[in-house]
C-alpha cells in the first residue's frame, strides 16, 4: 500500500454503525433520585467520555439517546412522550434504574409500570439505584446493539 493510494474497504452499515455508537448524545430525563447516580457516572470519576457518550444535550432535538432516569408517573408521561417524539432519528432509549424499567416498588395509583408502556426501550438497567458500572455496561450493550443493527440512512 502506497502512501497516496491508501484505502480500506468495509460495509456501509458497519462504518455508519461504528460512528453512531461512539457519538451518543444523551438527553437526561431525570425525575428522581437515580439522577444522582447519573451525575456520578457522567462526571470525571467514571468518565463516560471513554464511550463517546459524555455530552448531555438539554434539548431533545440535538440528542439521540434518551436516558429516562427515575420514576415516571402518569402526570409526567405526556411530557416524556413529547420529548421522545421530538428527538430526531436515529434514536435510542435507556431505562435507567428499576423505576423506569418496571415501576419498581411504586405499584400504586400514580406510577407508570415501566416506561415501555409509553415509549419503546432499547436497554433496561436495573438496580435501585444502579451502580455506575451497571450503567456503563448498559451503554456498552447499547453500543453492541447499534453496531449490529441495520443502519437506516436518512
Amino acid at each position: 500500500m502506497t502512501q497516496e493510494g491508501g484505502f480500506i474497504t468495509t460495509k456501509l452499515d458497519a462504518i455508519v454503525g461504528w460512528s453512531r455508537k461512539y457519538s451518543l448524545f444523551i438527553y437526561p430525563f431525570v425525575t428522581a433520585c437515580c439522577g444522582m447516580e447519573y451525575m456520578s457516572v457522567s462526571c470525571a470519576h467514571y468518565d463516560l467520555d471513554r464511550f463517546g457518550a459524555a455530552y448531555p444535550r438539554f434539548t431533545p432535538r440535538q440528542s439521540d439517546l434518551l436516558m429516562v432516569t427515575g420514576t415516571v408517573n402518569h402526570k409526567i408521561a405526556p411530557v416524556l412522550k413529547k420529548v421522545w417524539e421530538q428527538m430526531a432519528d436515529p434514536k435510542w432509549v435507556i431505562a435507567f434504574g428499576v423505576c423506569a424499567t418496571s415501576g419498581g416498588f411504586y405499584d400504586n395509583y400514580a406510577t407508570v409500570q415501566g416506561i415501555d408502556r409509553i415509549i419503546p426501550v432499547d436497554v433496561y438497567i436495573g438496580g435501585c439505584p444502579p451502580r455506575p458500572e451497571m450503567v456503563m455496561e448498559g451503554i456498552m450493550l447499547l453500543q453492541k446493539k447499534i453496531a449490529a443493527s441495520k443502519q437506516e440512512l436518512f
Partner: protein
C-alpha cells in the same frame, strides 16, 4: 394518659364547649375539637400571648373507613417564640366532608389544604383556589381514600401493549 399540661388546661378552660377530648402522650399535646369552632380556636392559638402558635407545620387527614365520623383532619402547630407544639384534630363526617379554611390565619395553609382536598376529597370553605395540587385535572376520585382501589391507575397517554416474557 399522663399529667395534663398547662397548655391543654388553658385551652380546655377557654373552649370547654367545643373540645371533644384532649390527651398528652409523652408531652405530645393533642386536642380534638368540633369543626364549627375551628377558626375561632385556631385564631386564638395563633394570636394569644400565652400560646403564640405562629407556624403551621402541616395539615393532613386520616381516613378511618368503617367508623363514624370517617375522616379526621390533623393540624400540627409550632410556637417558635415559646418552643412548644400542639396537634389539633377535627373529626369530619363522610356525608359532609367540608370544614373552614385556615388560610386567613396562616397563609401557608393554602397548599396543605389543596393537598388534603386532592388526596381525600375534603373541601375547605373559604379557600382562595381549591383545586388539585398533585394529581392531574383529569384524575377521578381521591387516591388516599381507603376505598380507592389500591392499584387503579388513570393514564393520560394511551399505554403501549407490552408483552412480558419471563
Amino acid at each position: 394518659m399522663s399529667v395534663e399540661t398547662a397548655l391543654l388546661k388553658l385551652i380546655k378552660e377557654k373552649f370547654s364547649h367545643y373540645i371533644i377530648s384532649t390527651h398528652s402522650f409523652r408531652n405530645d399535646d393533642t386536642i380534638v375539637i368540633n369543626k364549627e369552632a375551628l377558626k375561632q380556636v385556631m385564631s386564638f392559638l395563633k394570636n394569644d400571648k400565652i400560646t403564640q402558635f405562629d407556624m403551621l407545620i402541616d395539615v393532613t387527614a386520616v381516613d378511618y373507613l368503617g367508623s363514624a365520623p370517617r375522616f379526621e383532619v390533623v393540624y400540627h402547630l409550632l410556637s417558635i417564640p415559646l418552643r412548644q407544639r400542639l396537634r389539633v384534630k377535627v373529626p369530619i363526617t363522610e356525608e359532609e366532608p367540608a370544614l373552614d379554611s385556615v388560610t386567613s390565619i396562616w397563609p401557608g395553609a393554602n397548599w396543605f389544604e389543596r393537598e388534603v382536598f386532592d388526596m381525600f376529597g375534603i373541601r375547605f370553605n373559604g379557600h382562595p383556589s381549591l383545586k388539585r395540587i398533585l394529581m392531574y385535572e383529569q384524575f377521578e376520585g381521591h387516591p388516599l381514600r381507603k376505598d380507592y382501589p389500591l392499584k387503579k391507575q388513570q393514564p393520560i397517554v394511551p399505554l403501549r401493549d407490552v408483552k412480558t416474557k419471563y
